[in-house]
């Protein structure tokens, strides 16, 4: 038994394992890069890097094919720590290697944390428009908005994860219980008159009664997004309020009056509300003269907070984001004939980690290779003075 543990320990601290893991990591990155052509960058990250095992679909079965990013990274992490503890020797000749690896551990941790914590939203603004929320470019939510009081809206939103479970949701703010009958990750919606062959309507209220939902396979392409639909039945204290269809295809929310309150129902991009509002003053898209090559994109934005502390203009352009209240706003795109701006809104609490990690690693490498170089030059000098 002791022999087994000793060999296990020798394996765990060995440089051979390091090399094997590095090779595996390299293959993983390579295959993932190739696969981006089919899956798109987001799905690739989930499949290869943010997973323990990479599965392949063979004949309808998920077959484990290769260790995933978490597994390779995790074992590498252990190997690195164990190796350093086992071989630990303090001394300036080792300081370079120590620093490099410490920095590398920090880098891995940083990437893990940003994978877990980072929030990525988009903000679309047309000239003069004001918003106090950003929208997810991927996640959606089923929102119930109480508009009874004209002064403010009250929002209850059901996230995608709950919708996909197709269960039922009860919330004290809602005057009804929501039973999710069907959730379609990607779908098409057609008028029933245009699709006579469609299955009979399940929706009994709202627009849904005239519409047919056709489920589609989820898309992973970078320039396409899934457009989900959901069928929900609303159960009030006195019985059903009808089955409603909510879909990303339906732009206008549907209204329902319950117990003297007016509620609006909509399936929409997941929103993150902010304690401040942004107004687009102007979006500019400059091109090089006589060409379509973009020279610059910029958005002039006005920030206001309810307490009146902030009331100013800022300019966001390429390579010059706005950092405000822990969020960073980047110029990401534009649409609507160069009138509407699209800003990327990112919250990443661990954004400094890579910077620190890289500084530490660079220093480590410089020390390590500097020692080599000094040694080498010294040797050459001795050699040449010996021959001279």
């Amino acid at each position: 038994m002791a022999a087994f543990f000793r060999s296990l320990r020798d394996l765990l601290v060995s440089l051979k394992l390091t090399v094997v893991l590095l090779v595996l990591g390299m293959i993983l990155v390579f295959v993932a890069t190739i696969d981006q052509v089919h899956l798109g960058v987001w799905a690739v990250q989930q499949k290869y890097f943010r997973s323990f095992i990479v599965y392949a679909q063979i004949g309808g079965f998920s077959v484990p094919m290769f260790p995933g990013g978490y597994l390779i990274g995790g074992v590498y992490f252990l190997n690195l720590i164990a190796g350093h503890i086992y071989r630990f020797k303090l001394g300036w000749r080792k300081s370079g290697i120590l620093l490099t690896h410490a920095g590398f551990i920090l880098l891995l941790v940083g990437e893990l944390l940003s994978g877990l914590w980072q929030e990525d939203f988009q903000l679309r603004l047309s000239p003069g428009e004001t918003k106090n929320y950003s929208e997810s470019s991927r996640a959606i939510e089923l929102a119930f908005v109480n508009t009874t009081d004209p002064k403010f809206d009250e929002v209850v939103a059901i996230p995608e994860g709950l919708l996909a479970k197709e269960g039922s949701v009860q919330n004290p703010k809602l005057p009804f219980r929501v039973v999710i009958k069907h959730y379609y990750t990607n779908s098409m919606v057609q008028m029933r008159t245009a699709a006579p062959a469609a299955a009979p309507a399940e929706a009994t209220a709202g627009f849904g009664a005239q519409l047919a939902v056709i489920p589609l396979a989820p898309t992973y392409k970078e320039d396409e997004r899934n457009l989900p639909s959901v069928l929900v039945e609303l159960l009030g204290p006195d019985g059903s309020l009808g089955t409603w269809l909510a879909s990303m295809h339906l732009v206008a929310p549907q209204e329902i009056a319950v117990a003297g309150q007016t509620w609006k129902i909509a399936l929409r991009s997941k929103r993150a509300y902010k304690p401040f509002s942004l107004t687009l003053v102007k979006f500019s898209h400059d091109r090089y003269p006589g060409t379509e090559i973009p020279k610059n994109f910029s958005s002039k934005i006005h920030i206001t907070t309810p307490d009146g502390r902030d009331d100013r203009d800022v300019l966001i352009y390429m390579n010059n984001p706005l950092r405000y209240q822990g969020l960073t706003f980047y110029q990401a795109g534009f649409e609507n004939n160069d009138r509407t701006t699209i800003l990327q809104v990112v919250r990443n609490p661990s954004w400094q980690l890579p910077y620190i990690a890289c500084a530490v690693m660079t220093l480590g490498l410089l020390i390590q290779f500097g020692i080599h170089l000094v040694g080498f030059v010294g040797k050459r000098r001795n050699l040449s003075s010996a021959t001279a």
Partner: protein, 638 residues
């Protein structure tokens, strides 16, 4: 005598370089060189017409010479002369074979038969040369006149191909689209200064300042239903139609505003400027200058051509002297072709270096070293001029990355050679220098290599730090691989790899791998920081980012394998050669995937080139894995 050889070799090299630097002169009485130095706006950049001529020819036919293999004299003496014919004598230009077609299917589509492609040499000697393959036996370049009958079919085929997503197109479809685009470029170039298919267009515009008031009056009267000069109004309406066509089609924007020429945004096409004249009643003098140039070129009146070039230039000189200097330098840079000269010298240095291992070790070694220095200095000057023209750090696109990878690797070689003095540095420098400049040449076939930077990349700070560092990382990784190739080839095929040389090579490779690790790592990290600053994520698993990461990881693998004693000398060499594959994939392969933020257009030939290179490197690795007794250098003496 022998000790003076390095000096003599260097001197010969310097003289060769000096010859290329001599400014070009006109072959006839017409000042075509002066014409080529006139500025025009194309693709957002003010450049000399000479550059437009050269890059257009490169895009259309892959070379700057306009000639037919069966005719010994080229059709024109310079690219600028070709441009003059294109602009002003289109009927003549249409007979020049400037469309390169490689795809046999496309040739069939365009109705080109064996009769069109077969080259009938007039001399027997040439025919024999062609038969054994020293001269081409078939044409690959054709004139628009030859292609004209099938242009309708080409258009139909290209529309079919357009509907297919770019990465899924077959090589035939890509060839069809490329030829279609080339023909559009050709026709747009021809519509720049003369309206296509209009008789006496230049004469009509020449008379415009005189005829304009009457014409405008006639048109106004016609609109109001009053009696008018029908001929005058018809002439003007026809002209306005031509101007609109030229405005829509014209490729060049050569007409500066009368004041404020330095603002490139206000430069116009001839058609647009003339359309404006129809309302303002004033004709821009630059338009008249080009009309005059056109008429005198057609009439072969050298004297009036030269004086118009002179007068027009003086007029420009008053407002934009600095921009004209840039155009002059660029035209001079074009004609001296420093990278081509540098490439030639690298080859010579390589050969001399290899020969030094057989004989006259010191003398030839030093000759090779000094030649390498010369070629490198020349490349440095070339890169420097490009940087000055663009006001950018050295690497701004794939083309300049190829230049810089070679530059960096050769710089490292020079350091190695200065330390070791065993000609290995010079030989490696010759190899890498030649290879990278060859790659750069092929990359230049896609158009003007001095491009305007897209908004995303428009940050001189990050271009100067991230891009330069990462590119030096590429250089070093390649250099380690090429040094390893030298080790393998010398060891397996010759007896010249003695223990001292082998150890020296191993130390060089190890040192360069360390250097490569440092630079590729720091470069990758700087890229991450740039991404964090501009897109809000440090790492996005974009193909190019992954490519850079793989290089870092591979270098780390080499170092760990060596430190752990898993590989010895030969293993180290094999790993370093594999580094060539890794780097090539990151440099070019990732761009061929066609996804992500860093993707640029790419061609089939480049893909085949990459596959071929990878195969060759694998063959070298296999060679390195031969048992030691098969290596000539290590075989025990019998």
């Amino acid at each position: 005598m022998k000790s003076r050889l390095p000096l003599l070799v260097l001197l010969a090299g310097v003289i060769l370089v000096g010859v290329t630097l001599v400014p070009p002169h006109n072959s006839g009485p017409t000042d075509i060189v002066g014409f080529g130095r006139l500025p025009t706006l194309v693709n957002g950049r003010l450049k000399p017409l000479d550059t437009v001529a050269r890059t257009s020819l490169l895009v259309l036919q892959g070379r700057q010479r306009v000639s037919d293999p069966a005719i010994s004299k080229p059709f024109v003496d310079s690219p600028a002369e070709w441009l003059l014919d294109m602009l002003f004598v289109p009927a003549k230009a249409d007979t020049y074979p400037v469309f390169r077609i490689d795809s046999p299917d496309l040739m069939t589509l365009m109705g080109l038969t064996e009769d069109d492609t077969k080259i009938g040499y007039d001399s027997t000697a040439k025919r024999i040369m062609a038969a054994v393959g020293f001269l081409p036996s078939h044409r690959a370049r054709f004139s628009i006149q030859q292609l004209a009958p099938k242009l309708g079919e080409l258009d139909r085929q290209s529309k079919l191909a357009d509907s297919v997503e770019a990465p899924l197109r077959t090589s035939f479809q890509r060839a069809v689209i490329q030829l279609r685009d080339n023909i559009i470029l050709y026709q747009r170039l021809q519509s720049s200064l003369v309206a296509p298919g209009v008789d006496n267009y230049l004469e009509q515009v020449l008379n415009l300042p005189k005829s304009l008031p009457d014409g405008l009056a006639a048109v106004t009267a016609q609109r109001e239903g009053k009696p008018h000069d029908t001929a005058a109004s018809k002439l003007l309406l026809d002209l306005s139609h031509s101007f609109a066509t030229m405005e829509a089609e014209g490729y060049l924007l050569p007409i500066p505003p009368e004041s404020g020429m330095e603002q490139t945004a206000h430069w116009r096409s001839a058609g647009s400027s003339l359309s404006e004249s129809l309302t303002s009643g004033r004709v821009n003098p630059a338009v008249m200058a080009y009309v005059g140039l056109g008429l005198s070129w057609r009439g072969q009146q050298a004297e009036s051509f030269n004086s118009i070039v002179h007068v027009y230039r003086e007029q420009l000189e008053r407002q934009i002297p600095a921009l004209l200097r840039k155009c002059d330098v660029e035209a001079g840079f074009n004609s001296s072709q420093p990278f081509y000269t540098s490439m030639t010298i690298y080859v010579v240095a390589f050969l001399i270096g290899v020969f030094s291992w057989l004989k006259w070790h010191d003398t030839l070694g030093r000759s090779a070293f000094w030649l390498t220095v010369l070629a490198w200095v020349l490349a440095t000057v070339g890169i420097g001029i490009r940087m000055w023209l663009e006001a950018r750090p050295p690497v701004t696109n794939l083309y300049s990355s190829a230049l810089f990878v070679g530059w960096g690797a050769v710089a490292l070689c020079l350091v190695l050679e200065a330390v070791y003095k065993n000609a290995i540095g010079s030989v490696a420098a010759g190899l890498v220098g030649f290879a990278t400049l060859l790659i750069a040449h092929h990359l230049s076939l896609t158009g003007d290599t001095l491009e305007m930077m897209r908004a995303v990349l428009d940050s001189n700070f990050w271009l100067a730090t991230h891009v330069v560092t990462v590119t030096i990382g590429y250089s070093a990784t390649y250099l380690a691989g090429f040094l390893a190739l030298i080790y393998i080839v010398r060891g397996v095929f010759t007896k010249s790899l003695d223990k001292a040389t082998a150890d020296a090579l191993a130390r060089m490779v190890y040192g360069i791998v360390c250097f490569a690790t440092l630079f590729s790592f720091v470069g990758t990290v700087l890229g991450g920081i740039w991404a964090d600053q501009s897109w809000g994520r440090f790492w996005g698993w974009d193909p190019k980012e992954n490519g850079a990461l793989i290089i870092v990881v591979w270098n780390a693998i080499i170092l760990h394998a060596r430190w752990g004693g898993m590989v010895k000398q030969r293993g180290l060499m094999s790993l370093a050669v594999f580094g060539n594959i890794v780097t090539s994939w990151s440099w070019f392969g990732t761009n061929m995937l066609g996804v992500g933020l860093h993707s640029y257009g790419f061609t089939d030939a480049a893909f085949m080139g990459l596959i071929g290179f990878v195969a060759s490197q694998l063959a070298f690795i296999a060679l390195a894995s031969l048992p030691l007794e098969k290596w000539r250098s290590f075989r025990p003496a019998v």
